[in-house]
Symmetry: C2
Subunit: 328 residues, 2 copies
């Protein structure tokens, strides 16, 4: 497996200057996504809430920021050889799209039983999709083998400095648009978005509390945060498919410990309730993971009365048919 070309860095692995540099690379390429507000939500919460809507990002989720930033940083030689990612979700489409834009060939390892719409979307961006049988191999094994055989650079979904810095541009844009905040709520799977945003908070709005949000059923990061020991949950059974990652990463765990103020969890029904509330009242299609941070706010898991609150809506890629079946 080819190395992405980074020399070993001194701690910390990502600083705010990296987020700035990522923002410059993304300028004119990623969507500057809208910040929406809702009188209904403000009245309900008793604060002023700003939703940073990454469901309007290219390929439908914040993942494009990190993927494009990472691919931009490859050497010419690495670009010519191509990249590989394994993901059945938003990272797959993000890498495929970034590859198309940067003329880097992309190979995506996906389970053969992934939703047809996701396989088609990833191929639609020009990626070569390698399907595998979940009963015969793991994506890590297969991904490692293919990337070694073909000398491809692996683009990990979260645990890489360029990915983290790219995701941090989400919070940077939010502060640019609305100024300082009292509280920022960010969903947490592998911790790429959360740690990237936390780095931006510490420079751009130092007084802002940053809180990570997880499903109760996938509370590995919350437990890791509280105990300062890495916890792992394999295949957590949550509707929020974007945060079914087993644990924080080698880089993201210390960054979360260092910069994040608190971690909270929300129940499955609260996630669905928040998601449909965003659909019905704010008219935006968000995926379950995209509603995690809002769910913590609506459930009162965090006190927000009188506060200026940022909420990252991470993505909006849903299979309408599947989601429709979950309507209350």
């Amino acid at each position: 497996m080819a190395d992405l070309g980074h020399a070993a860095r001194t701690d910390p692995p990502v600083v705010y200057a990296d987020v700035e540099a990522a923002a410059a690379r993304l300028d004119g390429v990623s969507n500057r996504t809208p910040v929406l507000t809702s009188r209904f939500v403000d009245e309900r919460v008793g604060g002023r809430v700003f939703f940073k809507c990454e469901n309007f990002q290219r390929a439908g989720a914040f993942k494009f920021r990190g993927a494009y930033n990472a691919l931009s940083r490859l050497s010419n030689e690495q670009r010519e050889r191509g990249v590989l990612a394994y993901s059945s979700g938003n990272h797959a489409q993000a890498v495929a799209l970034a590859g198309r834009l940067l003329r880097v060939s992309t190979t995506i390892v996906m389970p053969g039983d992934a939703p047809e719409v996701k396989l088609a979307a990833t191929r639609g961006y020009g990626a070569e999709v390698v399907e595998y049988d979940r009963t015969e191999t793991t994506r890590e094994e297969l991904g490692a083998r293919i990337s070694q055989e073909r000398d491809l650079s692996l683009i990990p979904p979260y645990d890489h400095p360029d990915i983290i810095a790219g995701q941090g541009t989400t919070a940077r844009e939010l502060f640019e648009e609305v100024g300082q905040l009292d509280l920022l709520l960010v969903c947490c799977g592998g911790g790429g978005l959360l740690s990237g945003c936390a780095i931006a908070v510490r420079t751009l709005s130092p007084g802002c509390r940053i809180v990570g949000v997880e499903p109760e059923r996938a509370n590995d990061a919350t437990r890791s945060f509280r105990t300062k020991k890495l916890h792992t949950i394999d295949n957590p059974d949550t509707i929020a498919d974007g945060v079914r990652t087993p644990s924080l990463g080698r880089l993201t765990f210390p960054l979360v410990l260092r910069h994040v103020d608190e971690m909270v969890t929300v129940a499955e029904d609260a996630i669905l309730h928040a998601m449909f509330l965003l659909w019905e009242r704010m008219k935006v299609v968000v995926e379950p993971t995209g509603a995690l941070a809002a769910a913590a706010l609506f459930e009162g898991a965090i006190e927000a009365s009188g506060a200026r609150v940022g909420v990252i809506v991470s993505g909006g890629n849903v299979d309408l048919k599947r989601i429709g079946a979950l309507l209350p």
Copy 2:
């Protein structure tokens, strides 16, 4: 029934100066709704498409513009007596909200079997809802009786100069944001939005073709436009519940004849297809009526290749449960 206080006007009943005046009244009150674009749609259509998203308007639809403008124009005496509207849809909520903001008491006549969510939303804005039994009376009869008894001003849903001028501010904002267009697509029920926007087009983008869009099953305005004789369809059976109006109005019909370039129709399945495409690809929740103009574009009912095209997305008030059942 109290008159709204307009002296008889010479033809035409609404001119662009009325739209300007309405915009000044709405300034800081109505939402300046976002204009969204989609690379996916642009590639598919072969043009540049600008979606003016009135689903993000207050109370979820463009109707707030006309209702607030009309209530703003009442005399102090009329405001003290209050207003009445009959509607089971977006006009009801729009009048109720405008009344709350302007401290005018509102009475809304709605069928007792209207969706509970709509009754609750209208009451939530502070309106007195008078329910009636569809088998015993019509809303027109009941509305006329109550407004006469209580000396209330009737706020009609479309056939009034202040309503038309208010709806025209939608197109005005779109041109302010994106400049001149080659084509503007607007859904058509009673013709308030269409004629208001057409008036704005003639001043702000004179070379722009303006096209009204109806469901095939509710093609009264298309037939009226083509034959220059008013056609009526009672209770048309279309999923686009916002355009189940029987015909154009006394004011809107001549305005449509005068200013609109063409009328086209779309089939029911094309409306649903366009609606879910907007949900899935653009991540916006629109109601069936809100997808009418987009449906004409996606179906190729109007040639748009190489053109700069405006599409009015009229609203986003859906009963998710009911819509979920329609998923393909």
